[in-house]
């Protein structure tokens, strides 16, 4: 059953997933080519210095990658379900309505997490060539809110797309925009550390809110 659901979801999102992975890889290649180039030109010690004491981040172009990936996968996955209220077909499958939605959502989230972890993993591996653990840890710490934000974006966009009424889509979008902005606020390296746990917890809980839109749909809001 989950296999069939995963199969359908994969058909919807596979193109977007490959494009996202491709863009992420291109960003990584860009980052490390630039690091290599700059280290040659300004000397590694100075390059480290600008990170440690000047707040220079060599991975800035990754900032909006998780947001865009989350947004794109959510749209690719849920927009086709809203066209002609196609989600009716999904709810009619011989599975519990919440179960089918959770399965779809779980699959999409796992794929997104897979994409994000792939990029993070390659980033860490690439960074390990040039930088010590301290710089890598601080970098990952700095990127963590962006990546959590990507996940939150996925969850909230799913909620917005499946909501049957336009007015509420608008209202949800306002709240989602305000919430996602928190993750993407510009702040010094590593300064998000105290807030990562609450943000992570809220993001985790947001995984389930798509059920709210699903419920509203099934109760016939329109």
């Amino acid at each position: 059953m989950f296999k069939s659901i995963a199969y359908k979801e994969w058909i919807k999102i596979r193109l977007v997933v490959w494009v996202a992975l491709g863009l992420g890889l291109m960003a990584l290649i860009n980052i490390f080519l630039k690091v290599r180039h700059d280290i040659l030109f300004v000397d590694a010690a100075n390059y480290w210095y600008s990170f440690l004491f000047r707040g220079f981040t060599y991975f800035g172009i990754l900032k909006f990658f998780p947001f865009v990936a989350g947004l794109a996968i959510a749209i690719a996955q849920y927009f086709p379900e809203t066209v002609n209220k196609r989600i009716k077909l999904t709810f009619h499958l011989p599975v519990s309505e919440n179960g089918v939605l959770i399965s779809m959502h779980l699959f999409g989230a796992l794929v997104l997490i897979g994409v994000l972890l792939t990029i993070l993993g390659l980033f860490t591996a690439g960074s390990a060539i040039f930088f010590p653990g301290e710089i890598i840890r601080a970098s990952l710490l700095t990127m963590m809110p962006w990546f959590l934000g990507g996940l939150a974006t996925y969850f909230l966009v799913a909620l917005i797309l499946l909501e049957p009424m336009w007015i509420f889509r608008g209202l949800y979008t306002a709240v989602a925009a305000g919430f996602i902005t928190i993750f993407l606020a510009s702040a010094p390296i590593g300064s998000f550390r105290p807030v990562l746990l609450p943000l992570g917890l809220i993001t985790l809980l947001l995984a389930g809110v798509v059920l709210f839109s699903g419920y509203r749909f099934r109760k016939g809001e329109m």
Binding site: S4, K8, I11, R86, R218
Partner: protein, 294 residues
């Protein structure tokens, strides 16, 4: 034994009443047509039946289960054709067959492929690029492969050209009768419908106008064409008259009564006429006669 039992359905959109205390049953093995003009609540009923709408009050039972809380086992027994033959059109015919087959243990793809072989589509063609008629065949084929006991077909004729419509109807009738399936079908196009349905339910705003076997309805609902002596003569819509359409001195008189009863009714009202004849009606004529033209 009933496949569908709806009891005292009442629903509102906002504060607008759709219908009140609507009750009907669908017997197993029967084909019931729910006919009505647009906006009379056909889709509302379908949505309630499929659990996409919670009625304000009342309930529908499908095989004894509340339609709001259908178990996966019961959903397995229901084939659902969405208005406009909506399907996962981002898939091609192979993908969609593979997708659905994972949900139904008794999946039988032979009738599906039989229908698909007649379509002039390429194996990798997405459903979204197919014509409406082709899409209807895909949707139908999937339902046949699912082999459900109850088929709910929402406005299946919409967008179909006459050939496809006739094909669909004939195929469905033969299949349903051969396999003892129950069919609940809605339509706002009445043409050809008498070829398909056993029982008819005609819906008007806020109420049901007729609910009976289609044969009985066709035999008892009559149209008399009457030419009045004076065009100024007013004929009130009461008593045995179900509907009266009057153009100058020509009167179309719709009723469930016999010729004698109508004549007696007219003379009691003092209505003089120069001609009086019964007109044979198709189901479509009868539908319009019952629900009025406007």
């Amino acid at each position: 034994m009933y496949a569908i039992e709806c009891r005292n359905l009442t629903h509102y959109y906002g504060r607008k009443l759709v219908y009140e205390n609507l009750s009907f049953n669908v017997e197993e093995g029967k084909i019931l047509g729910l006919l009505g003009k647009n906006g009379t609540g056909k889709s509302t009923t379908i949505n309630i039946l499929n659990g996409f709408l919670q009625p304000y009050s009342g309930e529908c039972l499908i095989y004894g289960e509340n339609s709001q809380l259908l178990s996966p086992e019961t959903k397995k027994r229901i084939g659902f054709l969405i208005e406009g033959h909506v399907q996962y059109s981002f898939m091609n015919i192979h993908q969609i067959e593979r997708f659905y087959s994972g949900f139904y243990p008794d999946w039988n793809n032979a009738p599906y492929w039989e229908l698909m072989s007649k379509l002039k589509v390429t194996p990798k063609q997405k459903i979204s690029t197919m014509s409406c008629g082709q899409r209807s065949q895909v949707a139908l084929g999937l339902i046949l492969a699912q082999n459900p006991d109850l088929l709910i077909l929402d406005d299946f004729s919409m967008g179909l050209d006459p050939g496809y419509r006739r094909l669909f109807i004939d195929y469905m009738r033969e299949y349903a009768k051969a396999e003892h399936k129950t069919v609940f079908v809605t339509s706002h196009i009445i043409q050809d419908m008498e070829r398909l349905i056993d029982d008819v339910m005609i819906m008007d705003y806020n109420k049901i106008l007729a609910q009976q076997p289609v044969e009985q309805f066709m035999n008892t609902f009559r149209q008399f064409n009457i030419t009045l002596e004076s065009p100024g003569q007013e004929v009130l819509l009461d008593g045995i008259a179900v509907n009266i359409e009057k153009v100058k001195d020509k009167l179309e008189f719709y009723t469930y009564s016999t010729e004698q009863e109508v004549k007696a009714y007219l003379s009691a009202k003092g209505v003089g006429y120069t001609s009086f004849e019964e007109k044979k009606m198709s189901l479509e004529d009868a539908f319009i006669g019952l629900t009025r033209k406007y």
